[in-house]
């Protein structure tokens, strides 16, 4: 029996909402660190059984995966809170962010599907509120719709799983067949699988700086983590889907000129590595996927923090309108260097080892085409971060920006994460020892890994030098959202208006019984139905019912 790590953050969320800002943020940091300690110190195999909605449930179950993912999420929640304090977030925003992190931890430590579903929905609600609070337009609404669709599918799968097995407690994944299809589809929405990835790039670049930072680390990662629970076992299709995500995300990222939008596409690409590892499903694959997940949470959050600082200090996040930040903001530039090297898989930084594990697992599984996809994706990653580095930090400022320095709290947060990124890069055993699998098979600092990584980096840098001028000419690149969102709006409006529109059109035409019945059936769409029409409908239904029953 332990205190569920989620509880720390949920309590802190409630406290933060009402106490003064400084105390609230301090409480949030302490709670997150407390959750971190619990996550790391609780013995593996600890479970807490309880009853949820009347069913036997297991709100907390600690295994190696949960420990790593939960630990890193707790750590990042602490860093986020420090950053939020230094970036002017109000206490409500931080309270919701803490609740969101708490729900994520709840989902990670869940030992049964019911707890997972509850936390899953809570995450969706909290994230929606965060987006809604700081985003103009309908992005929040769309976010809610995407996640409600995913949530409904997951619930359907879980319910069907229960109907098939009679238990909600985790066993060997969701029951195969329709339950697993439904649940996987639901989880893939949160993972940001290609095709449903649009919510990531629709949502993450838009809101306030602090909200972006909070959002980027949790939902997709919990999605990947849950994917392991839902579909255990080798799944080549899934592995290739991951490779496709990687290539698509990285390609789109290269074409972006908006800092946070570029980073958002990199969420898609980085999640691709993890999905590939999950699909391979060997010890090395799982270990690599989870290690990469943890590393990615760290450096991706760091990158969003840097983008935030840049936006706050220069007022723009258009790469074409930036420059000279390397000299103007040295600490931020240093942090960027760490994060960019980590995400590019350069030795000595945290991405190197975990990316190598995923690549090796694909190699060991004999998926040659996928192996090449991963390598090409690595090149793309180098190109896109070379692009950021060049435009924002290296080249001279042509726009007369006079950026201030990052605040101490921002630097603390970024520095803390950067330290961990470097630490995991230099001493990967710190992370790998926590994992239940993959440690032994990982060729951590083998010469072949260095060659591969450095080769990729070299190719990437050369490619960027070649591509820089052609890339300049590319402006906006359409994604699927330019199809989905108008189509969704058209679908919604046309369905809603069909009744009225057709009724009105028919109403203008010749009077006939069919028209009259149709108009009666489209009651209330325009104006309240009259008494006569109401009784007519009642009579019609009565006639239909009696005829139907008697026939």
């Amino acid at each position: 029996m332990i205190v569920p790590p989620a509880v720390f953050l949920l309590v802190a969320a409630a406290v933060t909402a009402v106490v003064p800002r400084r105390i609230g943020h301090a409480a949030g940091v302490l709670a997150a660190l407390g959750a971190l300690v619990v996550a790391l110190t609780t013995p593996l195999g600890t479970v807490t059984d309880a009853t949820l909605f009347g069913f036997p449930a297991r709100p907390v179950a600690v295994d190696g995966f949960a420990r790593v993912v939960g630990g890193v999420l707790a750590f990042i929640a602490a860093a986020n809170t420090v950053y939020a304090y230094g970036s002017g977030a109000d206490r409500q925003e931080t309270a919701i962010a803490l609740a969101y992190a708490g729900a994520s931890l709840g989902a990670v430590f869940a030992g049964d599907w019911l707890t997972l579903v509850v936390c899953w929905e809570l995450m969706a609600v909290a994230a929606t509120v965060l987006v809604w609070r700081s985003t103009a337009g309908r992005a929040g609404y769309r976010y809610a719709v995407y996640h409600q669709i995913g949530g409904a599918l997951l619930i359907a799968g879980v319910v069907a799983h229960y109907a098939a097995t009679g238990s909600f407690v985790y066993a060997a994944g969701i029951a195969t067949g329709l339950p697993r299809v439904l649940a996987t589809a639901g989880v893939l929405v949160n993972v940001g699988m290609l095709g449903v990835h649009v919510w990531i790039v629709d949502t993450y670049p838009r809101p306030s700086v602090t909200t972006s930072v909070v959002l980027c680390g949790f939902t997709t990662k919990v999605g990947v983590y849950t994917l392991v629970r839902v579909v255990p076992g080798r799944n080549v299709l899934l592995a290739y889907a991951g490779g496709t995500m990687l290539l698509f995300g990285v390609t789109m990222a290269i074409l972006q000129t908006d800092f946070r939008r570029l980073l958002s596409y990199h969420i898609v690409s980085q999640v691709g590595y993890m999905v590939a590892g999950v699909g391979v499903a060997s010890g090395l694959g799982y270990g690599g996927a989870m290690a990469h997940l943890a590393n990615n949470v760290l450096y991706k959050t760091l990158l969003f923090m840097i983008a935030g600082v840049v936006l706050i200090e220069t007022g723009t996040e258009n790469l074409k309108r930036l420059g000279g930040l390397g000299r103007a903001m040295p600490a931020t530039a240093a942090a960027f260097a760490v994060a960019a090297l980590a995400i590019s898989g350069i030795p000595g930084f945290s991405g190197f080892v975990s990316k190598g594990m995923v690549v090796d697992s694909v190699d060991a599984a004999g998926l040659d085409a996928l192996w090449w996809m991963l390598l090409v994706g690595g090149v793309g990653t180098v190109i896109s971060f070379a692009k950021i580095a060049y435009y924002a930090f290296v080249r001279a400022d042509q726009y007369g920006h006079d950026p201030g320095r990052a605040t101490p709290a921002q630097i603390t947060a970024m520095g803390g994460i950067a330290a961990v990124v470097v630490g995991f890069g230099l001493f990967p055993d710190l992370l790998l020892d926590l994992l239940p699998a993959g440690r032994d098979a990982a060729k951590v600092f083998a010469a072949s890994q260095f060659e591969k990584a450095l080769g990729i980096a070299a190719v990437g840098l050369v490619a960027f030098a070649v591509l820089r001028r052609p890339l300049k000419r590319i402006t906006a690149v359409p994604d699927l959202d330019s199809v989905y969102h108008p189509a969704g709006a058209v679908l919604r409006d046309s369905v809603v208006r069909a009744a009225t529109g057709v009724a009105d059109t028919l109403g203008r035409s010749r009077r006939s019984t069919g028209v009259a019945i149709y108009r009666a059936a489209s009651v209330d769409v325009g104006r309240p139905a009259s008494i006569g029409r109401s009784v007519l409908l009642l009579t019609l239904v009565a006639a239909l019912v009696v005829v139907f029953l008697l026939s």
Binding site: R527, P528, S530, I531, G532, V535, T539
Partner: protein, 116 residues
């Protein structure tokens, strides 16, 4: 079919009542239609109570008797019906006081106008 003529008449009354409720814009007529509709159902019950060669269910006299139960049900239903009618008519008086008309289309037009 002919020996079940009262049932047919009952259904006819139900139909006539509904038709008035649907088709007549005058609210008084609608309430009248409701009454016709309900009495059609009453006729159904009372018909079901009738018995060949029977008499009113007074046990002091010799049987066979008509069925007392549907008759009692309809006694209650008549009272319910008149209660509903009374409330409906009270509403009509108020509608008339408010809008000066008892045609539903005119009342709705007045309400629409008041909204704009």
């Amino acid at each position: 079919m002919l020996e079940r003529l009262p049932y047919l008449a009952a259904i006819a009354l139900v139909g006539i009542g509904l038709a008035v409720l649907v088709d007549d814009e005058h609210l008084v007529k609608k309430v009248l239609g409701l009454n016709v509709f309900q009495t059609g159902i009453f006729l159904f019950f009372v018909t079901a109570a009738a018995r060949e060669g029977g008499s009113a269910p007074n046990v002091a006299k010799a049987g066979p008797y008509a069925n007392p139960l549907p008759q009692v049900l309809i006694l209650t239903a008549i009272v319910v019906g008149v209660s509903v009618t009374a409330v409906a008519l009270a509403l009509l008086v108020r509608i008339h006081a408010e809008y000066g008309t008892l045609r539903e289309d005119a009342v709705r037009a007045a309400i629409e106008e008041g909204r704009e």
